[in-house]
Each structure stands twice: as structure tokens, then as C-alpha cells.
């Protein structure tokens, strides 16, 4: 079995940088680190499939010894799908924890039954203000788009 040195080095870099980023305190960086190491592991699985060959599709006149090992590729596909799902969940978790950090203890009241009306009001204000921010940003974008298209017309 021969392995590509480039891939081995790339895997080592992914593992190293991934672990380094994962050790940071920020959740987003932990997620990025997880993705880097996860891809490093996928490369490791690929490297373990041995000498690369033809696409693993059996048909007439295909030499079975010349094709790649298909099983590790199936492993990698499965691992990619799982990582995608985990990433989506982690992003939701990060967003929620950012939201809680913005509001402090009052964050819990946004979705639950509001026991303290004032806090809930404050939280609702924050949601409205961020929605207003979004609108403002969108208006600026729209305005610049219009300027751009007007500039082209003239």
C-alpha cells in the first residue's frame, strides 16, 4: 500500500491546527476546530483505503484489482453527513448562547412564560431593536444597489 505524502502532511496540518483552535474559549472557534479535525479524520480514513485507483464501478472489462477501495469512501460520506448535522446543531447552540449572553439572566424569559413583565418587555425591545438594525442595514444595501444601477445607466 502506498500513500500520498501530500495528503499525510495535509492531514497532520488539519489535526494540528484543529486541536489548537479547539482549545480556545470561544465556542465558534471550538466549532471551527472540530470541523478541521473532523476533516483530518476523513482524510485519515481516505489514506487507509490504500493505493488509489479507478472509480469503484464494476462493469464489463473492469479489472477489479485496479479500482479504489469503495468502503472507506462510504465511511467518509457518512461521517460528512453526521458532521453536517452536528455543525447545524452547534451553530444553533452558539446563537442561543450568544443571545443569552446579550440578555443575561433575562434571556430565559423571552420564550418562557414571562414572570417578570418588565424584563420580558426589555427583552422584547431588544428583539425589536435588532430587527430595526436589520432593516436599517437592508436599507443601506438597497440604497447602494440603486446607486450602483443608476451609475451604470448614466
Amino acid at each position: 500500500m502506498t500513500a500520498s505524502l501530500t495528503l499525510v502532511l495535509l492531514m497532520a496540518v488539519l489535526f494540528g491546527s484543529g486541536v489548537a483552535v479547539m482549545l480556545e474559549r470561544s465556542l465558534t472557534r471550538v466549532l471551527i476546530g472540530f470541523l478541521l479535525v473532523g476533516n483530518g479524520v476523513n482524510l485519515l480514513i481516505y489514506l487507509m483505503s490504500g493505493t488509489p485507483g479507478l472509480a469503484p464501478i464494476l462493469g464489463e472489462g473492469v479489472d477489479e484489482s485496479a479500482i479504489s477501495d469503495p468502503l472507506p469512501q462510504a465511511f467518509i460520506l457518512t461521517a460528512i453527513v453526521i458532521n453536517l448535522g452536528i455543525t447545524a446543531f452547534m451553530l444553533a447552540l452558539i446563537y442561543r448562547s450568544w443571545w443569552l449572553a446579550q440578555l443575561g439572566a433575562k434571556g430565559d424569559l423571552v420564550d418562557d412564560e414571562a414572570e417578570l413583565v418588565e424584563d420580558a418587555e426589555e427583552a422584547a425591545d431588544l428583539i425589536r431593536s435588532s430587527a430595526a438594525d436589520d432593516r436599517a442595514v437592508q436599507e443601506i444595501i438597497d440604497a447602494s444597489d440603486e446607486e450602483y444601477s443608476e451609475g451604470r445607466r448614466s
Binding site: F34, V41, I45, L71, P72, T78, A79, I86, F89, M90
Partner: protein, 538 residues
């Protein structure tokens, strides 16, 4: 229907149930009906499988999609798998009834029902899949299914506390999954297969040092999931904040899936590679350090989380003995511990609702207030502490006798392959540690009993005792909740599980014999291999 046709249903039914409960998101009663009937069906199927497997003597192997063994995925149910599935299904069912009761009473503030049922069923599917996986990669998929569902359940409701606890749990689990996947990649590179039966043959042909490296990498991955010292640090910080039913099912089942994977690793995969001395040391340390942690906890949920870590040590000790009696006692202990630990966490949930707190410093007078609650706590507490005649005592005695046989060199029950290589003094030392752990568990639980149940409500103000001088509150100060009603559904679910723990004691004889037969199959990896490859491995 042949038994082979029943095997995939164990995973398929919960997955279909999860899909239908998701569709039925707005119909609470329909959701409950689907979840309970699915879990009841799985329990019934598991019972049929257990009878069938025990009668056949070896087990059932199913090739999914009729792809032949080393290429396709194989599902294997032997005695150990069948025992694990049936006890898990019963636990999941009991906890589900409890959760439904709690949800009804709280109008779904803690367990938003539309998400709870699908996640719970997916968790069950993952657990069952891990138990029947005959392929290392399928085992990984099973782990991922149950972990993904557990992330959702642990952060249910998304309150600040749960997010904090969930982040620790999720990151630790992710790292352990990466370890596991790397181990699979390296094992595939070394042997060219991920089929457990084929690996059993091919791994034994590798040089000892290569085997050792792969072996330790797998053990690290499973050790994190099973919460074995020193990889147990995450557990007491993440479990207690979840809703009571979620904590109960996590504490009872998830760590045991790790233990199950370790049993498979030691008996089928790396039967020829000996790390029993290491496991023996780890088992002893897990017991002692876990229980010493429990001693200083004022919060009953944290206390129970530490005893959970501690009692994993007994199972690791039994695996390290690697004799038939040792493995049999381990299997019995796993079944006992799943039941008792789950029940205790459910009772704690009742105490929290009834008494309005979980801290030993704030609870008092519960015996007079609710004798039924006292019984529901007292029986499993004594059981966990190892008081005769309960199953905890029987399991520990089984382990100690097995240990004494190995140490005394009288383990003659047809051992195949190398037995435990741990030095004699070490085995005796771990037995002593086990006895001490049992007593300290009893001390920690009876202290809680004395304070929460026997102490009068009027004594609470300014109470001082040497018993309470060294306990510490939970880091978040122990959440004080108002007392809430305890609906009859929650109480009856807990009562049902307490009755089950007592049944484990009453029927200890037949159960121990069954565990013994399972252990004999485990002790001889050739049984597992011939189950998957009746015509021998290429």
C-alpha cells in the same frame, strides 16, 4: 416470523415512531400513544429475541439487505445484546411514562412535548442500534444517533444553565467521537475490514504493539462515554441540570452503552491483547475517586452523578477479571445499575417537586410528609449501597467472589485465551476498594436520608451537625424551585421501576444463570465469529 426478521425492527420501530411523533407535533395524546406503543413493542420483541437466543445457545445474525457478511452490515443479537436491549427498553418505557406525567402537570414548560418525543425515540434507536451492531462503523453510527438526540434532550428549553452544561457535554462527546472514528480508520488500515467478527480473527494476527495502540485508542473513546476515571470529569457537571427524566435516562443508559462497547472490545476484538492490569487500576481508581467526590456534595443530583461514576468502576473491575464468573457478575451488575440509578434519579425528581429543593441543607421532614416517597427513595438507596438481600449486594458479592477466584488462581471454569494478568495483590486491593466504596456510598445516601427524611421540618432553622460540615452546594447555588404537585403518573412510573429493582433481587438466581451463559459465550470469541460466519472466515 423468524427471529432474524425481528432484529432490524428494534431500530426501525423507534425511528418510524420518531418520524410520526414529529408529524403529530400538535397532538399530544397521539404522540404519547405512539411513543409508549413503540417502546412496548421493542420490549416485547427483545423478550422474544432473548428467549430465542437463549434457546439457540449462540444468537442471531442478520445481514442487512442480503449483502454477505464482510461487505454488508451485520446485525448481531447474542445473549448479552438481548439482555441489554430488554432492560433498556423497560427503562426507557418507565422514564417515558414519568416524563409524560411531568409534562402534563407542568403544561410542558420543562419538556416541550413536540421536540421531546421524537428526540427521545431517536435516542432509543441509537441505543438499540449500538447494542445490535456487528460492524464497528455501525457501532459508531449508533453512538452518533444517540449522542445527537442526547444533545437536544440535554439543552431542552435552551435556558442559560442547560446551554452551559450542554456545551461541556457536547464538546467532550465530539472529541470522543473523533477518537472513535480515528480508531476505526486505523483499524481498517491495519486489517482491511470493519466487521467485528472478522476483526476478531484479523486483529489477533497483528503484532502485539500495533494491537496495543489500536486497543488503547478504542478504549479512550469508549472510556469517555462510559465516564471512567480520569475521563469522567465531564459527567457531574453536565447531567444534573437537565430535566429529571432526561437525567435519569442518561445516567442509567448512556454510560452503560460505553461499558457495553468496552465489554465487546475486551472479549471479541482484542481478546489476545492484554490490558487487564491497566483496567484493574482504572477500575479501582474510578470507584474510589468517584465516591470521594460524592461525599462532599450537598446537592442530591450531583451526589448521585458522582456515585454513578464510582459504580462504573465495579463494571470495569469485572471486565478486567476476564473470567467467566467476572463477566457474568459484570453483566448482572450492569442490569442492576441501569435500573437502580435510573430509579434513584426519578425519585430525586419527585423529591425536588415535593420538597422544593435538591440540597441536603434545605430538605427536611419528608418522611412525615410523604411515607410513599420515603419508601421509593429508601429501597433503591439501600440497593445502591449494597445492603443484603438487594441486587446491589448480590452483584458486588459476585464480583468479589470472581476476584477472589482469579487472585487465588482457582478460576477453572473453562477459560479460553489469556485470563487476567493482574498481580494478585492488585486484585485484592481493588476488592478492598470495592468494599470501601460500597460502604461510603451507603454513608452518603443514609446521610441524605437522615437529613431529608428523618429530620423534622421544625429543626431546619439553624441546624448544625458534623455530618453537614464538609458538604458543598452545587456551583450554581442549588436551584430552589417552588414545591409543585406530584402527579400520580410520575409516582406510579417510579413505583413500577422500584418494583423492577426488587424483582431483580427476587429472580437473581435465574438472571445470574442467564448472565453466566452470556459470559461463557463472551469468553470464547469463536462463538461470535461462527455466528456471523457459519462457514468460517476467509
Amino acid at each position: 416470523m423468524t427471529p432474524a426478521a425481528l432484529v432490524p425492527l428494534v431500530v426501525l420501530l423507534p425511528l418510524l415512531g420518531a418520524a410520526s411523533t414529529l408529524i403529530l407535533g400538535r397532538h399530544r395524546r397521539a404522540q404519547m400513544a405512539v411513543s409508549t406503543s413503540v417502546l412496548t413493542a421493542v420490549a416485547a420483541i427483545a423478550a422474544m429475541l432473548l428467549v430465542e437466543v437463549d434457546r439457540s445457545g449462540t444468537g442471531v445474525a442478520v445481514t442487512v439487505g442480503a449483502w454477505p457478511a464482510p461487505y454488508g452490515i451485520v446485525l448481531v443479537v447474542d445473549r448479552l445484546s438481548a439482555i441489554m436491549i430488554i432492560i433498556s427498553a423497560l427503562m426507557l418505557l418507565g422514564v417515558l411514562v414519568y416524563a409524560v406525567g411531568q409534562g402534563v402537570a407542568d403544561r410542558h414548560r420543562e419538556t416541550p412535548v413536540s421536540i421531546f418525543h421524537p428526540s427521545y425515540l431517536i435516542l432509543s434507536a441509537g441505543v438499540f442500534n449500538a447494542f445490535i451492531a456487528g460492524d464497528l462503523f455501525n457501532l459508531y453510527v449508533g453512538f452518533e444517533i444517540l449522542l445527537s438526540a442526547s444533545y437536544v434532550l440535554l439543552t431542552l428549553g435552551g435556558t442559560g444553565e442547560r446551554i452551559r452544561a450542554g456545551v461541556t457535554y457536547i464538546i467532550v462527546s465530539l472529541v470522543s467521537s473523533l477518537f472513535f472514528l480515528s480508531a476505526i480508520a486505523l483499524i481498517y488500515g491495519a486489517t482491511g475490514t470493519a466487521n467485528i467478527a472478522q476483526l476478531s480473527v484479523r486483529l489477533a494476527e497483528l503484532p502485539q504493539d500495533v494491537q496495543l495502540m489500536l486497543h488503547l485508542l478504542l478504549l479512550t473513546a469508549f472510556g469517555i462515554k462510559a465516564a471512567v476515571f480520569p475521563l469522567s470529569f465531564w459527567l457531574p457537571d453536565s447531567y444534573p441540570t437537565a430535566p429529571a427524566p432526561v437525567t435519569a435516562v442518561f445516567a442509567g443508559l448512556l454510560t452503560k452503552v460505553g461499558v457495553y462497547a468496552i465489554i465487546r472490545t475486551e472479549t471479541v476484538l482484542f481478546a489476545e491483547n492484554d490490558v487487564t492490569t491497566l483496567l484493574m487500576v482504572i477500575g479501582g481508581l474510578t470507584m474510589l475517586i468517584g465516591i470521594l467526590g460524592a461525599l462532599t456534595q450537598a446537592d442530591i443530583k450531583r451526589l448521585l452523578s458522582f456515585t454513578l461514576v464510582s459504580h462504573i468502576g465495579y463494571m470495569i473491575f469485572g471486565i478486567a477479571l476476564s473470567s467467566v464468573l467476572g463477566l457474568a457478575a459484570t453483566i448482572y451488575y450492569v442490569v442492576h445499575h441501569i435500573t437502580v440509578q435510573t430509579t434513584l434519579f426519578l425519585t430525586t425528581g419527585l423529591i425536588e417537586r415535593f420538597g422544593g429543593a435538591t440540597s441536603i441543607n434545605r430538605l427536611a421532614g419528608l418522611l412525615a410528609a410523604s411515607p410513599l416517597l420515603a419508601i421509593l427513595f429508601f429501597i433503591p438507596a439501600l440497593n445502591l449501597g449494597g445492603i443484603p438481600p438487594f441486587s446491589g449486594f448480590l452483584g458486588k458479592v459476585g464480583l468479589f467472589i470472581a476476584g477472589a477466584e482469579v487472585a487465588g488462581g482457582t478460576d477453572a471454569a473453562g477459560a479460553i485465551g489469556p485470563g487476567s494478568s493482574a498481580p494478585t495483590w492488585l486484585v485484592w486491593a481493588v476488592i478492598a476498594a470495592g468494599a470501601a466504596t460500597s460502604l461510603i456510598t451507603l454513608y452518603a445516601l443514609t446521610r441524605f436520608w437522615n437529613m431529608a427524611f428523618w429530620r423534622g421540618r421544625d429543626e431546619l432553622e439553624g441546624y448544625e451537625s458534623v455530618l453537614l460540615s464538609s458538604v458543598q452546594e452545587a456551583p450554581d447555588g442549588g436551584v430552589v424551585t417552588a414545591t409543585r404537585t406530584t402527579p400520580w403518573l410520575m409516582v406510579s412510573a417510579t413505583t413500577g421501576l422500584v418494583v423492577l429493582t426488587v424483582l431483580l433481587t427476587v429472580f437473581a438466581g435465574p438472571l445470574f444463570d442467564l448472565a453466566g451463559r452470556a459470559a461463557e459465550n463472551l469468553r470464547d470469541p469463536a462463538v461470535y465469529v461462527s455466528l456471523v460466519f457459519p462457514g468460517g472466515v476467509e
